[in-house]
């Protein structure tokens, strides 16, 4: 069950590179788990630590001034690659609540929404300008569908109506589907002959 979320207020962590893939977000060697918690320490593992195992102090998420920030400003096509939900699990466990990018990959977006991680898609130029001022406190308003900056700019972002309701009301998608049991039953009865799985 998701908890309801409406306003996210934070300064941003910037990862400006385009095409940050899910192997970057959480490398496959951390997928050998049967639970969904505790993955935050492995988020961006191969950027956080150097090859010799030492912490890279230059990496954005390791910098002390970025501690506690919950908005990630990322380059275009964030979350491409694998369908691993471990990616949003790792990000939310690391304290992130929203990803702002000019494009978010399809499966990652669906996975993110199921975990209360808000994908905020804005024009590339807007994302670039926000990246210049990571110390501005941003305000993401889910009900209004806009991201606001301290100097009064308001950037509207599109969010599927259902996704918005789920975020605002903490609607549980599985509960919603389970409530459609009668429709599913009817479908199964009327389409029986087209299914061949044996």
């Amino acid at each position: 069950m998701n908890t309801a979320v409406n306003i996210i207020r934070s300064r941003a962590v910037v990862l400006s590179q385009a095409n940050i893939d899910t192997d970057r977000i959480i490398p496959a060697r951390f997928l050998s788990t049967t639970i969904r918690t505790g993955l935050g320490e492995h988020a961006f593992a191969d950027w956080r630590k150097r090859a010799d195992g030492s912490v890279d102090p230059e990496f954005a998420l390791n910098r002390p001034e970025n501690a506690g920030r919950s908005i990630l400003l990322a380059g275009r096509n964030f979350g491409c690659g694998s369908s691993r939900e471990h990616a949003p699990w790792a990000l939310t466990d690391a304290g992130l609540r929203a990803v702002v990018s000019s494009q978010v990959a399809d499966i990652f977006r669906a996975n993110a929404l199921k975990n209360g991680l808000v994908p905020v898609v804005l024009d590339e130029a807007v994302v670039q300008s926000l990246m210049q001022r990571p110390d501005d406190e941003l305000e993401i308003d889910i009900a209004a569908g806009e991201l606001r900056t301290p100097d009064g700019q308001r950037h509207a972002f599109a969010l599927d109506a259902f996704a918005r309701t789920c975020l605002l009301e903490g609607v549980d998608e599985l509960g919603y589907l389970l409530a459609r049991g009668a429709d599913i039953q009817h479908y199964e009865t009327s389409h029986r002959e087209s299914s061949h799985v044996v």
Binding site: Q17, A18, N19, D21, D23, R24, P27, A28, R29, L31, S32, T33, T34, I35, R36, D46, A51, G75, R76, N77, C80, G81, S82, S83, R84, E85, H86, P88, Q103, A105, D106, I107, A110, N111, K114, N115, D160, A161, F162, T165, E173, L174, Y176, L177, L178, R180, G181, D183, I184, Y187, E188, H191, S194, S195, H196, V197, V198
Partner: protein
């Protein structure tokens, strides 16, 4: 008159349980749910926490592939798991399947293998179906004219519980490929070329239908390679309309309808083509005659060039960074780059035709002493059929390793790793930084190019090697 529909439209319409509205996505029915050990445990846990059982265990099929060793069991029958967590995942899936009556193609089963290889082999994958798996390369099954896509673990739970997903209708993209492929050029080269053209995000939000004379002339194996990598262009799914090639494949599978039922099914399957005049949201044309054997120079699959070309000047800082990571230099010919590892395998290129391609190159030749080469068949069936043709002996005689089926070095979860800094030519689908192990550098290529590079010890053009006589 009814409106002409695309293949995708037909597949979509047939699976809508509750239509989408502005306020809510469609409730979409799933005919076949494939599960594996890595992305399913959390889905089962979700059901258990709500006290519900899977709705259609009969439509759910399980296999073990990602975490499993590709080395055989020891004398005591113990498999060499790379870490205890991998074994725990395997055991968890077994328990979950047993508890809920789900068929599992377990270790030791003659039908086990990479999930996207075994379902088509068994004939579980059929035209007209909707198929999902907690795995992005589920797009592979689209080669049969099934709407197949990857989902996350929460969605695995949704499908287990309700056999449905909440889905917004994606857009359609037609990629029409025409013309005859040149010598040494195959489906992998075609799809790398396509991704380079449209970009790794070119398919985002879309389902791709691959069309045209080149696609029609392709075997099922090649069509699977094509659809497999649709996800690398960001697409929701890839599709090829079913035809006689598809039906011929299915007629040899144990789980497709048999006898009269098969004939009736073929009749239905024939209707699954895009109608004349149906509109796609986007269209792209590709001239197959211009495609050369492809290799990638960067750290995403959209960086293919012809193997006879030079590494391009970086267009931006990200490309410069990628080239630095890869240890490649702009302006240098990519052929001739020293290679440490060659990996033949993964759901992209691990089927019998791929094994034959590799054996054709390796027969009478030796893998270069610098190179470690792993050949990993995609399934027990591929392994069996390849061994019946003596391919394992050719591979071993050339100095390469012939392994047990599984994902292996494609995702490097099972201990099969490329060492930091090593350069691998791989027939898999992702060359992301660290995909094949921390610090590993990956060039994506076809089985022919991979095998030619293994022999040469450097990135090599399979067309050139073909000209040199085997010993």
């Amino acid at each position: 008159m009814t409106t002409p529909r695309t293949l995708f439209d037909k597949l979509w319409d047939a699976h809508v349980v509750v239509p989408e509205t502005a306020a809510a996505p469609a409730v979409f029915y799933i005919d076949l749910h494939l599960i594996h050990e890595v992305t399913s445990p959390q889905g089962f846990t979700e059901l258990a926490s709500r006290g519900i059982a899977p709705r259609r265990p009969d439509l759910t099929k399980a296999t073990l592939d990602h975490s499993t060793p590709t080395l055989p069991a020891d004398a005591a029958g113990e498999l060499p798991y790379h870490k205890p967590e991998a074994k725990a995942q395997v055991e968890r899936l077994r328990e979950n399947c047993k508890a809920h009556g789900i068929e599992i193609f377990d270790l030791g089963s003659a039908q086990r293998g990479i999930v996207h290889v075994i379902a088509p082999e068994l004939g579980l994958t059929q035209p007209g179906m909707s198929i999902v798996c907690g795995d992005s390369h589920t797009s592979t099954h689209g080669a049969f004219g099934a709407l197949a896509f990857g989902i996350g673990s929460s969605e695995v739970g949704h499908v287990l519980a309700t056999q449905c997903l909440l889905q917004r209708k994606p857009k359609t993209l037609a990629i029409t490929i025409d013309g005859e492929l040149g010598e040494g050029v195959g489906a992998k080269d075609v799809v790398l070329h396509v991704i380079q053209q449209i970009g790794v995000n070119g398919g985002t939000g879309h389902v791709i239908e691959f069309r045209g004379s080149t696609v029609r002339a392709m075997s099922m194996e090649s069509r699977m390679t094509l659809c497999n990598m649709a996800i690398e262009a960001g697409a929701r799914a890839g599709l090829v309309a079913p035809d006689d090639v598809t039906f011929e494949w299915l007629s040899r599978t144990p789980r497709a309808p048999q006898g009269r039922a098969f004939d009736a099914a073929v009749k239905r399957w024939r209707t699954l083509a895009t109608d004349d005049g149906a509109a796609f949201d986007q269209e792209v044309q590709v001239d197959a005659r211009r495609i050369a054997p492809a290799v990638t120079w960067g750290t995403h699959p959209g960086t293919a060039i012809g193997v006879d070309q030079r590494v391009p000047e970086p267009a931006d800082a990200a490309e410069a960074k990628a080239q630095a990571y890869m240890g490649l230099h702009a302006g240098a010919a990519i052929a001739g780059t020293p290679v440490d590892v060659v990996f033949v395998g993964s759901c992209t290129n691990c089927r019998l035709s791929d094994m034959r391609d590799v054996a054709g190159v390796l027969a009478g030749r030796r893998v270069h002493p610098r190179v470690r080469m792993l050949v990993v068949p995609g399934s027990e069936q591929v392994k069996r059929e390849a061994e019946a043709e003596g391919i394992d002996r050719i591979v071993r005689a050339a100095g390469a390793e012939w392994r047990e089926p599984g994902c292996s070095m494609c995702i490097a979860m099972n201990g099969d790793l490329v060492a930091p800094g090593q350069l691998a030519v791989s027939t898999s689908n992702r060359n992301f930084e660290g995909r094949q192990g921390p610090g590993a550098r990956t060039l994506l290529a076809s089985p022919l190019t991979a095998a030619a590079s293994a022999v040469a010890g450097v990135v090599a053009d399979p067309r050139t090697l073909a000209a040199t006589e085997a010993a």
